[in-house]
């Protein structure tokens, strides 16, 4: 269940309260988010839409602990991340968040396997365990046979699937996707959206997705619009 009225109960995985974010540019404050509230339960698939510059990326960055709000709080699985120190926040990110970007952002010098293995280097897993996990993740995205390929040897859609494997390999609490199909053709975009849908439906992953593409947004269970710094409900397909 997803709520934007700030009245979610104690069952929410993600709870955002009175979130404000302002950037100071040329001595002038630009208010991007104003008093934003959000509650997301585990296993939800939420899509955010909104005009360019409305603050979608800003919101995802805050949810992922990449940036700090001007005021307000974000609590994920009981941790108030907006109160964590920078070092703790980094460790929290490694443990709880999987990021997927529009531009895939793979390491060009590493193979598909090495890219997927990267987050596991931060864990205590042994080399053999890392190998097994990374291979399983690549298998899940259907790229087991591309294990030794470098990003430049893959198509855009394949690169994005490697990026998804990298995002899920450490089994994060939730996935944040910022326009993951923005750079892909229709077919590849559908593949990626199928994959995300499957991760939510079959593996119970909580997914928050920003997109400009209505077809992609349709695949989410809940669609929200970001307008004037706050969220408004759009077409609600069905209750969770």
């Amino acid at each position: 269940m997803v709520r934007i009225d700030g009245n979610g109960g104690g069952t929410s995985l993600i709870r955002v309260r009175n979130l404000d974010k302002a950037y100071v540019r040329g001595g002038q404050a630009v208010h991007v988010l104003r008093g934003l509230n959000l509650d997301v339960e585990e296993g939800e698939f939420v899509a955010f839409m909104g005009p360019s510059g409305s603050g979608k990326t800003t919101l995802l960055n805050l949810l992922g602990g990449l940036d700090l709000p001007s005021s307000g709080s974000i609590t994920v699985a009981g941790d108030e991340i907006t109160a964590l120190s920078a070092a703790k926040l980094t460790a929290w990110r490694a443990r709880h968040v999987g990021f997927i970007f529009q531009m895939y952002n793979l390491m060009p010098v590493l193979t598909a396997f090495q890219n997927v293995e990267l987050p596991l280097l931060l864990t205590r897993l042994s080399k053999a365990e890392r190998r097994a996990h990374a291979e399983a993740a690549l298998e899940l995205v259907g790229l087991k046979d591309r294990i030794g390929h470098y990003p430049r040897e893959l198509s855009g859609g394949q690169e994005q699937r490697v990026a998804i494997a990298r995002a899920i390999v450490a089994d994060p609490t939730f996935l944040l996707c910022d326009e993951p199909t923005g750079d892909l053709d229709r077919a590849s975009a559908d593949e990626v959206m199928d994959l995300l849908h499957r991760l939510c439906a079959d593996y119970g992953k909580t997914i928050l997705l920003v997109t400009h593409d209505p077809r992609a947004a349709e695949r989410a269970r809940t669609l929200l619009h970001l307008e004037k710094g706050a969220l408004v409900e759009a077409v609600k397909k069905h209750e969770a």
């Binding site: 960055n61 460790a91 490694a94 010098v109």
Partner: protein, 379 residues
């Protein structure tokens, strides 16, 4: 090291640039090794100087002699344990290029003052019994193929004529730094054959009983001969040797200036390379941080890369200079101790690491401070 693959692949991504960077380190460290070798060679006298040895020479100049009679008078002074003397023969073997120093020595005392030189007792006895005998340092013997029993003609540029000597002994040194290029023969033989300057010797070497009192002994010696027609100047052996080095120009300063300029240039070049590398990878670094790489880890990744270039280049440069010095003195005798010591190699490696760290620290710091959100926005 779990991150080795990432660091290694990053180093390999721009082959030309990496090669040039490693090459710069190699050239700089080769130069460092060469300068260190030359400096060691020039300073050998200073480095091997005995703490308990004084050198007494004519006050006016090193090339002016002193009376042989001073030996007994010096021995009477308190604090003096042993006195020996030598004279410079200044001969050449066959050719001007074949330089090695020949000393006419006081055979009675020489080895007692220079205990670091070893001559097999049988050879030394043979030498003492042979008026025309000589003892040659191992390096010079090896270089010219002199063997025991050989007869060696030396052209006497100062005293005239060709003097022939019998090789009775080969001496070795205790330590690698000991000068094993000298050629010794009987001071008595020189005295006998010389046409002029009889009764004179080149310089004295004194061993003192207590090194801590060396300065008082040296003053006592000079006071003893003050106002005579042959006044003396007595210094510790290391001061004497470094005075000798000074005569060759201030080599140390020169080496320091060249070294500093080279290393500073290297630092600018490699520092810039690392800065470029970090700038090009802004997005990738931000992604690593997004994934959960700590700031400290990112700092180390960049620093390790910088150190990686430095170590590879430094090892190549130092290995090359070591190989070069193994071929021996390139000047044909002017620098008898042309070798790169383990200590200087270690210093070279330390310098390499310091340079790698210095070149990498600012880019690494910038990478560490990189703010994810801003960096991702630029991608």
């Amino acid at each position: 090291m779990k991150f080795f693959a990432l660091i290694w692949r990053n180093m390999a991504r721009k082959k030309v640039r990496t090669t040039l960077t490693i090459g710069s380190y190699a050239v700089a460290l080769f130069l460092f090794g060469l300068l260190a070798t030359i400096q060691t060679a020039f300073n050998q006298g200073v480095d091997v100087a005995g703490a308990d040895r004084l050198v007494t020479r004519n006050k006016i100049s090193l090339i002016m002699p002193l009376p042989v009679a001073y030996k007994e008078r010096m021995l009477q002074l308190p604090g003096v344990k042993e006195v020996t003397y030598a004279s410079w023969f200044g001969g050449k073997y066959q050719d001007d290029k074949n330089f090695f120093p020949q000393f006419a020595i006081d055979t009675d005392t020489w080895l007692r003052v220079y205990p670091e030189f070893k001559v097999p007792p049988a050879q030394w006895s043979a030498f003492l019994a042979d008026r025309e005998g000589c003892v040659i340092g191992q390096a010079t013997a090896a270089k010219y193929g002199f063997k025991i029993g050989d007869r060696v003609p030396i052209i006497a540029t100062i005293f005239g004529g060709v003097w022939e000597f019998n090789v009775d002994g080969i001496y070795t040194g205790h330590r690698q730094e000991d000068d094993v290029t000298q050629f010794w023969f009987h001071g008595a033989y020189l005295e006998e054959r010389r046409q002029w300057g009889k009764g004179m010797v080149g310089w004295y070497v004194i061993r003192v009983k207590d090194p801590d009192r060396a300065i008082y002994v040296s003053k006592a010696i000079d006071d003893r001969f003050a106002n005579s027609s042959w006044e003396t100047k007595t210094e510790t052996e290391s001061a004497f040797a470094s005075g000798f080095v000074k005569q060759m120009g201030n080599i140390k300063l020169l080496i320091l200036v060249i070294g500093t300029v080279v290393f500073f240039t290297l630092l600018l070049v490699t520092g810039n390379t690392m800065a470029m590398a970090v700038r090009e990878r802004t997005g990738e670094l931000a992604v690593l941080k997004t994934i959960g790489f700590r700031n400290g880890t990112v700092l180390w990744l960049v620093l390790a890369e910088s150190l990686g270039y430095a170590i590879q280049g430094g090892v190549i440069g130092l290995a090359a200079v070591k190989l070069y010095t193994l071929r021996g003195d390139p000047t044909g005798g002017m620098l008898p101790l042309f070798y790169l010591s383990a200590g200087k190699m270690a210093l070279g490696l330390a310098v390499t690491l310091a340079l790698g760290a210095a070149a990498g620290i600012i880019p690494a710091w910038l990478a560490m401070r990189l703010r994810i959100v801003e960096a991702l926005r630029r991608v």
